[in-house]
Point group: C2
């Protein structure tokens, strides 16, 4: 790739001082580590990143922690203790980026407010994730992923009609905020090339949920109508939903008349394509219950793999509903090496690679034990001081 | 903000030639436009971006289209016609970025393959989104959001135990891919400062789903156990779920003993905190059905707003399950100006701002009508040629 003509990764030479914990923040700095930045986790002595204590474990290694902390280094520092503050400030003097996801005001309470940081380290970029922004009316509210899924509108829309709330177990509020922080930090690095100044990236998880609700917000505010819960169905396309095969679930989507006609052929119900109830997408949406019943009655008679083969052969959009394990073994995931097997003290573990791929990102290394890299990091901090 | 000391936005001066359509691609270039890039939509004559035809409409304006295309320009070009190709190539000669989300091979079929593009325009960054990567075993499979939610594992986990599949109506597969493309393009711009070379950003929607499944993939592959469907519940924390108040749903989370004790006080059931069944989080997870029944019986007796006030006063993590409209009116969203009211030919419409905020992003303008900016764009292309 042209991108690596000079043999370097995107963030080679960039130093990140990483105060993040649990998921949103570590997911952000995972992306920076994948792109070649040196990411130093500064952790509370004794316990470290709270996620180190999250089950399940393998040989004492939290799998949750391992999943987002590969390729990083660790030092334990108590930021209330003078000697440790000196080390921390030695690191900041060298750093390009400081990242954290404490509650608002935590870092300022330790004497590291942004105006002060910016004055002392003018090239330092300071990125944070909070639930509702670093200040403002809800700044003190606890910012768990489930809280943001509830307040961000997602939970009000998920599920079949009349459903009780459902949480996305893909931690969408934490992860979007983490990705926006990584994106904002790279944007700030690019901006710094011109301005020669670091800047502040102040990510609110609720803002990120709003950004991901873009189509629904514009539509609801213009029409006054709220999106309805429709399980898998699309509000304006039919058929476009999940059906049960004899041995599992599949998705079938036929968003136009040609694809609907081909679907009808595959299920050997060609007469449906011209039936007065189903002739156009508008009619199919109107009579979607009847349509789904007719299609469903055929699909449930044969196995998933057979339907996927037959639908694929006709170019009808379809997909199996895959488990996490089937995702891991999916041929495209394997082909693109999206899962990396890392040797760790707890044996080999798989972690995700970067969707940006080899032009930008490199190999990874085992998630660090608490304080694992103390000597090298102390040397770095002293060299800078 | 220090970031705007020189009065500029992050991507001021950057030109994006934007062949994207529907959602994933336009969401990516929306982020570039918000950061100040000049984004020129190159659309098919006649129909334009397919999303222009998506209901609901206001005065002929698709609200879906409007939600992700503010701040962009539009020209209609037929890339199979020589004169239009000349205009397109005039734009490429000036452009920093070319973005598209066609099926794999479409742009190559028009004579614009990456090696050729890179040879002719060495500083050009080429970003694409496909379902499964630009080549590989599933490259030809249709890449609707619902297909990727099904294949990416999310759909297998969403919902209560035994549930039929549920789709996230927040189009999580399209939107994560769009955000990764924006992130990758900014990374490529930063990299170009050093290499002086453009590069290729080849985003696979399935890779993006895998990245967002990071904790579940590492855990499932190490333990062999699949995540269970648990509606809103957390697998390892209780209580941490939705409860019905007398007039709506709320989330309550008490991940440790202190918060659980405070929750018990709020619901006037202090004896629960020391009950043998519920004394530790481990016990609470084991007896979560009994616990949820006891808490739920109290919570359903009073209105949502009252519980939120009382739980907030004790610092117990909680949240209302908000509709999209309540999200729009949320005090933090208003405080941070995350929704922008744009004057458009179809009257004022609201669109989302950027979570990166004012240090990086500027004001927006109305989504373009098809071919609206033809004259200015032709002049730009000719000036470059």
């Amino acid at each position: 790739m042209a991108a690596t003509l000079d043999g370097g990764l995107t963030l080679d030479g960039i130093l990140v001082v990483d105060l993040t914990h649990v998921l949103a923040g570590p997911f952000a700095t995972m992306h920076l580590a994948q792109m070649g930045a040196r990411v130093i986790k500064v952790e509370q002595p004794g316990r470290g990143d709270e996620a180190r204590g999250f089950a399940p474990f393998r040989d004492g290694q939290s799998l949750y922690f391992a999943s987002v902390n590969a390729g990083k280094e660790s030092i334990a520092l108590d930021l209330r203790v003078a000697a440790d503050r000196l080390v921390f400030e030695g690191l900041l003097a060298r750093a390009d980026v400081l990242a954290e996801n404490f509650r608002p005001g935590t870092l300022a309470g330790l004497g590291y407010e942004w105006p002060e940081l910016h004055h002392r380290y003018p090239r330092l970029i300071y990125g944070s994730i909070t639930g509702f922004g670093s200040e403002g009316p809800d700044a003190d509210r606890a910012a768990y992923d489930i809280v943001l899924q509830a307040m961000g509108g997602l939970m009000s829309m998920l599920g079949p009609a009349g459903s009780a709330p459902i949480r996305s177990p893909m931690q969408i509020a934490d992860l979007t905020a983490g990705l926006y922080l990584a994106h904002g930090i790279v944007a700030a690095l690019y901006q710094r090339e011109r301005t020669k100044q670091g800047s502040r990236v102040d990510i609110s998880m609720l803002d990120c949920q709003a950004a991901f609700m873009c189509t629904h917000l514009t539509t609801a505010l213009a029409t006054g109508a709220l999106p309805e819960r429709t399980a898998t169905r699309h509000p304006w396309i039919a058929p476009y939903e999940a059906f049960a095969a004899s041995d599992g679930w599949l998705i079938v989507g036929a968003p136009n008349d040609q694809l609907f006609a081909r679907l009808c052929e595959v299920i050997e119900q060609s007469q449906l394509a011209d039936a007065p109830l189903f002739r156009t997408n508008e009619l199919r949406v109107k009579h979607r219950d009847e349509l789904a019943a007719l299609i469903g009655a055929v699909l449930r008679g044969r196995p998933l793999a057979e339907w996927i083969l037959r639908l694929d052969a006709q170019g009808v959009p379809c997909a199996p509903v895959q488990s996490v394990m089937e995702l891991a073994r999916n041929s495209s995931i394997v082909h693109r090496a999206m899962l990396r097997k890392l040797p760790t003290p707890a044996g080999p573990l798989h972690v995700v690679g970067s969707p940006l791929g080899a032009g930008f990102c490199g190999e990874s290394s085992a998630p660090p034990g608490l304080d694992r890299d103390r000597a090298a990091i102390l040397a770095l901090a002293a060299a800078a001081g």
